[in-house]
Amino acid sequence: MSRKTSVQTKINGDTVEFLCEPRQTLLEVLREVIHLTGTKEGCGDGNCGACSIMLDGVLVDSCLVLAVEVEGKEIQTIEGVASPDGLHPIQQAFLENAALQCGICTPGFIVASKALLEKEPNPSEHRVREWLAGNLCRCTGYDKIVRAVLDAAGVMQGKSG
């Protein structure tokens, strides 16, 4: 076991300092060290998207990022999506569209969908499917997830417009 490194980062707006081994992934540190377990592990090799997070505004699989890489960077996880005022429109749309069954992939889908809608507020169904191709869901057949994202886009545009 190697010596641990101190890393300072910002997670969901708060400054966080943690110790990690050089081999540890950001996903492992988020879950096991900082106990932000909303980010899920489905595969550990970047194929399921359950561990999707935002790193300096870019959507990434946190299982493919080493924790030491995030020094000085900004991270957003599912825990930072809702505000004290309530759920984010995407979260609300997932509930209203019955877009989750078991719920294990849901945090990843919400983080990924938010990244899309912040970049492209009015995506087509095809674009939503393409963007979410890196997130696996085995329960829903994606139908209700895609509808939820399209609904949320409408709500968010209504709000900003």
Binding site: A98, C102, I104, L136
Partner: protein, 758 residues
């Protein structure tokens, strides 16, 4: 979504937001791997690198000396186990084999078979220790398919496995665990009288349930001898029974706390890590947490069986099926126990056929022990018989739906197992599809085809428990014994809400651990909304009676003078005596004490489910890629309690069926090693692969349930295999009898077709 609804209710049949929804969209819901105990150790499993080998020695001295390693267990740490068979939900378990699955004894029987488990201060250290364990193997040749394993000279997995030959034990060891048979009428004579007979051979590949959450377990062996386990499972009571029996404990010494569960589809009925975490905790006195990696999930947890099948169907020119003969050989994996029996019972249940002979074989081979997967056993057999029926209908020039209506099973029709169908909705469901615009719509382009097929699943009932407690603010706490895998907190609460005339939002549902709720069978067999819902219905009626009594006491009148309707309690005679549920709830503690009720039930009137699917595909003749363009699923759901989640179950089943038909497959090399052990290479459908999936709910109420509920979760995976294969045929002119219908198979077949035409 459209529906052919009959009875209307106030809460049942609406789609409220699920009670656990906020936790699940904010990341707060605790799944098994999210459980954290201070000072916990981490466990890892050493797995066999060989598909078939004898273990001649295990030396873990070096591993135990590795800094940070706390304990190692091997099969000697498990109590010896004789043959003992127990029925657990959809599976029959022989504890002798279960022990050998948890930790290999003298032989390893598949790549990934556990040989030892290590507990260490971190998962990294535990993994390092695995490489320090020295196992000596004498490698044997593997058998990978059912036909191979059934050969006289096949390499044997078990020296002591003797075929159960239609009730008799054979005296020669074999890889065939069981041969069973259904015989009705006289097929030989009937085939000789048929105008058309078609016989085909089929194979399907080993595939995985593909839940996104890997298996996990955390155990603490308390100093007083009690064992506490946290895990994500389809049945906390099933885990309790299996662990207690395996470790020779009494069930009351084991407490199982079910976490949220990240998908199961049948694959989280069996146990894998739980006994290992328990043994490691006993040795170390600390909590031990174990979580599988994805390659372990694919290589060492129950996939669904691959199979070899033959199916022969004879019909008259007028379109009446006169005889069916079928041969089904399913791969059990390393230990006996395939769902071939379910395949045999389900495959002809849509039809009325007088002459039937079905032979089923449960065959062991060097793959992980198979587990239930959504309508276990039924999709395989349906792929065979529905494909032949589509071919027959075409040959006779009869519309495939018309053909099915001419042969449809109805109430009173005898099934192959001798029992008769109660009220079923097969004809209604076929008719709904027949009349639907999708069936007549233009395909809109070349290389496109439309396919249809139907499917059956009996659904389950059995033991379930539910407890309700009235709170002083007019809300009701509900504890169900069923792990909530896809919205059962909502669907169970809604049934109690209907009885009490309250909105679904008045309920606070939770899932109980084995010490806090009565015994409940596993979440499987499409039984929860039916059976646990039945328990909630009974408990709610008990609450209603207690509230009527209490109001009578408060008002000083006879209870017969009190009515309860839509959450309002009132006197029949005195309009001044009237209280809402909430007003009465506020007074309970002061007027005789709190009101709660529990119900434990075992309803046996589960209504069968039928599904009819229509699918359009486009086949790219250059690449062999198949796109699903349009999909409509029709299903008799009895009564949809929460239509949005019922629709979701159907869409999910269809998506899994599409993956099964077009992509998914365990690729093995000749040494029996799976080559595609990641979710990149084990290719499940992604959002880009699928269209929106349209659903039509047909509601033929199940007389065995107060709201007419039929289980809905499993049957939607039955028709996709034959329906898509039929669509591909109509697009290309080639019938595929082997799954998956992947691009290379399509390209090869189209090239052969071209060659033939030249």
């Amino acid at each position: 979504m459209t529906s052919v609804a009959r009875q209307q209710y106030k809460v049942v049949g609406t789609s409220p937001i699920r009670h656990d929804g906020t936790d699940k969209v904010t990341g707060r819901a605790n799944y098994g791997a999210d459980i954290h105990h201070t000072g916990s150790l981490y466990g890892k499993v050493l797995r066999s690198p060989h598909a078939h080998a004898r273990i001649s020695g295990i030396d873990f001295t070096k591993a135990l000396q590795h800094p940070g390693v706390k304990a190692i267990v091997t099969s000697v740490d498990l109590p010896p186990m004789e043959d003992k068979v127990m029925e657990l939900g959809e599976e029959v378990i022989n504890y002798r084999f279960l022990r050998a699955k948890i930790l290999a004894d003298k032989k390893v029987l598949y790549k990934g078979h556990p040989v030892a488990a290590v507990a260490a201060e971190s998962s990294d250290i535990a993994e390092e220790a695995l490489s320090l364990i020295d196992v000596t193997y004498e490698v044997l040749s593997p058998v990978l398919t059912a036909p191979e394993a059934m050969k006289e000279d096949a390499s044997l997995l078990h020296d002591d496995l003797f075929t159960d030959e239609i009730g008799y034990k054979s005296d020669k060891p074999s890889n065939i665990a069981e041969h069973s048979q259904f015989m009705v009428g006289d097929v030989k004579t009937a085939f000789s009288q048929a105008d058309v007979v078609i016989e085909r051979e089929f194979t399907t590949a080993t595939i995985h349930q593909g839940y996104i959450e890997p298996q996990n377990a955390t155990a603490i062996w308390e100093p007083d001898g009690r064992l506490v386990i946290w895990c994500s499972t389809q049945g906390q009571f099933g885990v309790r029974s299996q662990v207690a029996e395996l470790l020779q404990m009494s069930v009351s010494q084991v407490k199982v706390i079910p976490s949220e569960i990240g998908g199961g589809f049948g694959g989280k009925n069996p146990i894998y890590l739980e006994p290992l975490a328990a043994l490691l905790s006993r040795k170390t006195g600390k909590a031990v947490k174990m979580v599988m990696k994805r390659d372990e999930v694919l290589e060492a947890t129950g996939p669904a069986p691959g199979c070899y099948m033959r199916c022969k169907v004879g019909a008259t020119n007028s379109g009446k099926i006169v005889a069916v003969e079928a041969y089904l050989a399913y791969e059990a994996g390393a230990f006996p126990g395939t769902p071939v029996g379910a395949g045999m019972r389900c495959m002809l249940s849509p039809y009325e056929i007088d002459n039937v002979l079905i032979d089923g074989y449960d065959v062991v081979n060097n793959k992980p022990k198979t587990a239930a997967y959504r309508a276990p056993g039924a999709p395989h057999a349906a792929f065979a018989v529905e494909t032949v029926i589509n071919e027959l209908a075409e040959k006779l020039g009869i519309d495939p739906f018309e053909f099915r209506l001419r042969n449809a099973a109805k109430e009173g029709t005898r099934k192959v197992d001798g029992t008769s169908h109660p009220l079923i909705g097969y004809e209604e469901t076929v008719q709904a599809a027949y009349d639907h615009p999708h069936y007549k719509a233009s395909l809109g382009g070349p290389n496109r085809g439309r396919g249809v097929a139907t499917g059956y699943w009996p659904n389950g009932g059995g033991p379930s428990s539910c407890t309700l407690s009235v709170n002083s603010d007019g809300s009701v706490s509900l504890i169900e014994g069923s792990p909530d895998i896809g919205g059962s907190r909502a669907s169970i609460s809604m049934q109690a809400a209907e009885v009490l005339g309250l909105p679904a939002e008045s309920f606070n549902p939770s899932v109980g651990d084995t010490d806090s709720i009565g015994f409940t069978g596993n979440t499987g067999g499409s039984r929860v909304t039916y059976a646990t819902g039945f328990a909630a219905y009974q408990a709610a009626n008990d609450i209603k009676d207690q509230l009527i009594n209490r109001a009578a006491v408060i008002w000083g009148i006879d209870k017969d003078q009190v009515t309860y309707n839509d959450g309002i309690i009132e006197s029949k005679d005195d309009p001044g005596l009237r209280m809402s549920f909430k007003e009465l709830a506020e007074q309970l503690n002061e007027t005789g004490g709190p009101v709660s009720a529990s119900a434990s039930v075992s309803p046996m009137g589960a209504g069968a489910a039928y599904a009819v699917h229509i699918v359009d595909v486009e086949v790219d003749p250059e690449t062999g890629k198949i796109d699903v363009l349009r999909y409509t699923a029709f299903q008799d759901v009895g009564k949809a309690v929460h239509p949005a989640y019922v629709e979701g179950q159907i869409q999910g089943g269809v998506a899994q069926g599409i993956g099964w038909t077009l992509n998914e497959e365990y690729f093995y090399d000749s040494d029996g090693r799976m080559k595609n052990v990641s979710l990149l290479d084990y290719r499940m459908p992604i959002a880009m692969d699928l269209p929106m999936i349209d659903v039509v709910l047909v509601e033929v109420a199940n007389p065995g349930h107060p709201y007419g509920v039929r289980g809905v979760g499993e049957v939607p995976i039955v028709p996709p295999l034959p329906a898509i294969a039929d669509a591909v045929y109509n697009a290309t002119g080639v019938r595929f009898y082997d799954l998956p219908i992947n691009p290379s198979r399509v390209v090869n077949a189209l090239q052969c077709l071209k060659g033939d035409k030249k």
